[in-house]
Amino acid sequence: MAERIEFSGSLYSADAVKQAVEAFAHLGKFELESADDRVAVVLSDPDPEVADVLLDELANHVLALTVQSRG
């Protein structure tokens, strides 16, 4: 079953979302959906060892990249 998380475009950098998804790509199948002022990440087939925390870890990663990109 797919899980979904939406990042607000006014709070998160779209580039940060893409970079984070690339960094986590080996842990599951990620699809990006951009709509309005949001970037959604849909996760399917996650690595069972980290499935319960994968999107949370991804969100932390996106936040870190966003903060770093702001200098």
Partner: protein, 157 residues
């Protein structure tokens, strides 16, 4: 449940309720961007990344919802303490941001003086003049040797 951290700005000194929603392993609360700068919110959030899962959302214009989810089991008291610490860090971050903004012209001034100031040029000019003043012309090759200076001092003494 509410807490009342100090207001960050005298201009907005009215009481501000810090209301949060508590659920299993997570706590969420809203931050008003009229009170806290985005950089302050990011600064506080960044510090909590290693302690918990942080997620930011935009429930309304000029509002940021912060959700802190514990990485392991956490009691309601621990989650409330986490939110309180975040609120304190937010104030710290806001203060740093305001001081940084207020002192930016001073920093820029000193940087400009350090790199492009007239005093710097004067110092270089003085050094060049000092070099010229040295009696290097008397040396055929204009190469001063260190023992000459020592010998002169010895003869003076």
């Amino acid at each position: 449940m509410t807490q009342n951290p100090s207001a960050p700005d005298e201009a907005t000194a009215e009481a501000v309720d810090f209301t949060f929603e508590l659920s299993e392993r997570e706590i969420a609360f809203d931050i008003d961007e009229d009170l806290y700068a985005p950089d302050a919110i990011y600064g506080a959030a960044y510090l909590f990344i290693d302690r918990c899962y942080v997620f930011l959302a935009r429930p309304a214009d000029r509002k940021v919802r912060v959700r802190l989810r514990s990485k392991g089991a956490a009691s309601a008291e621990e989650l409330e303490a986490l939110a309180g610490e975040f609120a304190n860090e937010l104030l710290n971050s806001q203060l740093r941001f305001r001081i940084g903004r207020a002192t930016a012209p001073i920093r820029e001034h000193y940087m400009a003086r350090a790199f492009f100031g007239r005093e710097q040029n004067a110092t270089i000019a003085e050094l060049l003049a000092e070099l010229d003043a040295e009696e290097m012309a008397e040396e055929p090759l204009e190469i001063p040797v260190p023992w000459e200076a020592g010998r002169e001092k010895a003869s003076d003494g």
